[in-house]
């Protein structure tokens, strides 16, 4: 009985961290699905979101709701700017160049925030105050529930947006074939900009929830969750929205379980091994579909 409780509790821990991964992975998968590039800086936009919230709430003393909205706007604007300045000129370049640029952007964001806010961690209390819930002897933190609800809402919203709106259709078209989409009269640049705006807004939301959970600001806070969320997106099938959600949760549970029952030291190694194995066995991920390269 005690073992079952403990396993349930660990599952819950997995869900807690997994829902954050899922939220980040949604942004990753969206940008990758449409712009066809790994936005290495996605994790760092989360960091930007966390710091932005801190600036609005603690330094400018704005009301929380306004601060959250401003944070989301800030991240979207930064996302669009990055895309325009760094990625757009490389749209026809080789993938290697785009990847290196994305790494550069990630480094740039981290080091800018290091210069502005210094390396010393800044404590920042949560603005989301939800009491925890007791369920069958299990203590579920309020934030976990909020994160899960937000993630599911975002997933549903995104799916509807892509399948039901003009912009969503445009995104699908661009993801299939940029050239053809252009010929059909779709403004590819604008579509990709919107994609980045939405992806960055999701990162902002993830940043807000992340900082509410861990309450400490660090310039590198987004790096590791970013990479792990990428693993989650690949695991679920990159480009697939339900896949990202699913992959995030699974990854969180794998991580929690390996920490609890295998080895904390090897938990990261296990997470990354999962990635390698998935890419080897089913590169399209669990819910993704593979496209053959045109010769």
């Amino acid at each position: 009985m005690a073992l079952i409780t403990s396993i349930l509790e660990q599952l819950l821990n997995g869900l807690r961290i997994g829902s954050v991964y899922a939220l980040i992975a949604l942004g990753y998968t969206m940008v990758y699905g449409i712009a066809k590039m790994i936005n290495f800086a996605h994790g760092d936009i989360i960091m930007v979101g966390a710091y932005a919230l801190y600036v609005y709430v603690s330094l400018l003393k704005l009301p929380p709701v306004l601060a959250v909205i401003l944070t989301i706007i800030t991240c979207s604007v930064i996302g669009i700017t990055i895309e325009k300045v760094a990625y757009k000129p490389l749209r026809k370049a080789q993938p290697l160049a785009v990847l290196i640029t994305a790494i550069g952007v990630s480094y740039l964001l981290q080091n800018l925030s290091l210069l502005i806010f210094k390396a010393t961690p800044i404590p920042f209390g949560s603005i989301i105050k939800v009491p925890s819930v007791k369920l069958a002897g299990l203590n579920i933190s309020g934030l976990t529930i909020v994160t899960l609800v937000v993630t599911v809402a975002v997933m549903v919203g995104l799916t509807l947006f892509i399948n039901r709106t003009r912009m969503g259709h445009a995104m699908l078209a661009v993801s299939e074939d940029k050239g053809a989409a252009e010929l059909m009269g779709i403004n590819v640049n604008r579509t990709i900009s919107v994609t980045f705006a939405i992806g960055s807004a999701l990162a902002a939301v993830a940043g807000i929830l992340y900082i509410s959970q861990y309450e400490t600001l660090l310039p590198t806070l987004g790096a590791l969750p970013g990479i792990k969320a990428f693993v989650a997106a690949v695991l679920g099938g990159i480009g697939s929205i339900p896949g990202a959600m699913f992959g995030g949760i699974i990854l969180g549970i794998i991580e929690s379980m390996s920490k609890a029952y295998i080895s904390t030291q090897l938990s990261d190694a296990i997470v990354f091994s999962v990635l390698v194995v998935v890419l080897l066995v089913k590169p399209s991920g669990i819910l993704g579909k593979l496209k053959a390269e045109k010769v």
Partner: protein
Amino acid sequence: MKKYGKQILYMVIAVGAYAAVMLLVNMGLLSRQMTSLIIPVCMNIILAVSLCLVVGFLGELSLGHAAFMSIGAYSGALVLKSGLPVVVSLPLAVLVGGCCAAVLGFVVGIPVLRLKGDYLAIVTLAFGEIIKSVFNAATPITGGAGGMKKIPAVTTYKNFTFVYILMLLVILLVSYLVNSRHGRAICAIRDNYIAAETIGIKVSRFKTMAFVISAFMAGMGGVIYAGNIGILKPVNFDYNTSIEILVMVVLGGMGNITGSIIAALLLTVLPEMLRGLSNYRMLVYAVVLIAMMLFNNSPMKRILVEKKNMRQAAKIQ
């Protein structure tokens, strides 16, 4: 004839650099700080040139170069600590370090057979993290997080000659390789792997080959590192280290060996001169990465290339 002229020039530079360093050190004209940079410069050149093979010539992004380096460093350090006389242990360590790294390179090469581009880059990153975790966990052998200590300081500037020869060897082998049947195959894969296949190049074989050779050399670089610092910690072989090497290759102009060498030299010496500005250093690296990529794909670059072509065309007519 022209070709030989270039070779002679390179030889003169190689011997000249060696003579200059030896002279400066022996006359005591170099400050201790500069003296202590001699070996790191050689090491970074080895690392940059070896990474250049994968990134510049094979055209795949490896974000795990530090992992190859660490395998070499740890395995080489075990040999160095064995108590054999340095004359035996140092070359042996370099060989063992290189071979162990090459084996890992081969293991990484297996997914390489199936992946390319973004996914391959991520897998190399993942491998880097896995290796780091394993080194952290394998405390009985590696000393875990506390690090492997008391490694004899055999690759200090006093053994400059050995390290320098090793460095020259790496440069020579890589530049010879890219100018050969095998190197052309590797470059062909970079430029168009489908076309490469149809002219009979076994893509997976040459990809693996490039990874293994690059890993072998990075492993040797790792041994130099171990013998220079004397303590090995898994954290020092993280993602950031891989990126620092990548910056050298990118700044050197990807696929340009001379460029990589100069970039490695600059990026090792300059931060020391600008000590205390390390927060800005990483920022500058970030800007370098972005700016180089944007410049390489900018209209300006195209104009420059076209101008060069015009000159070339004029020469022919």
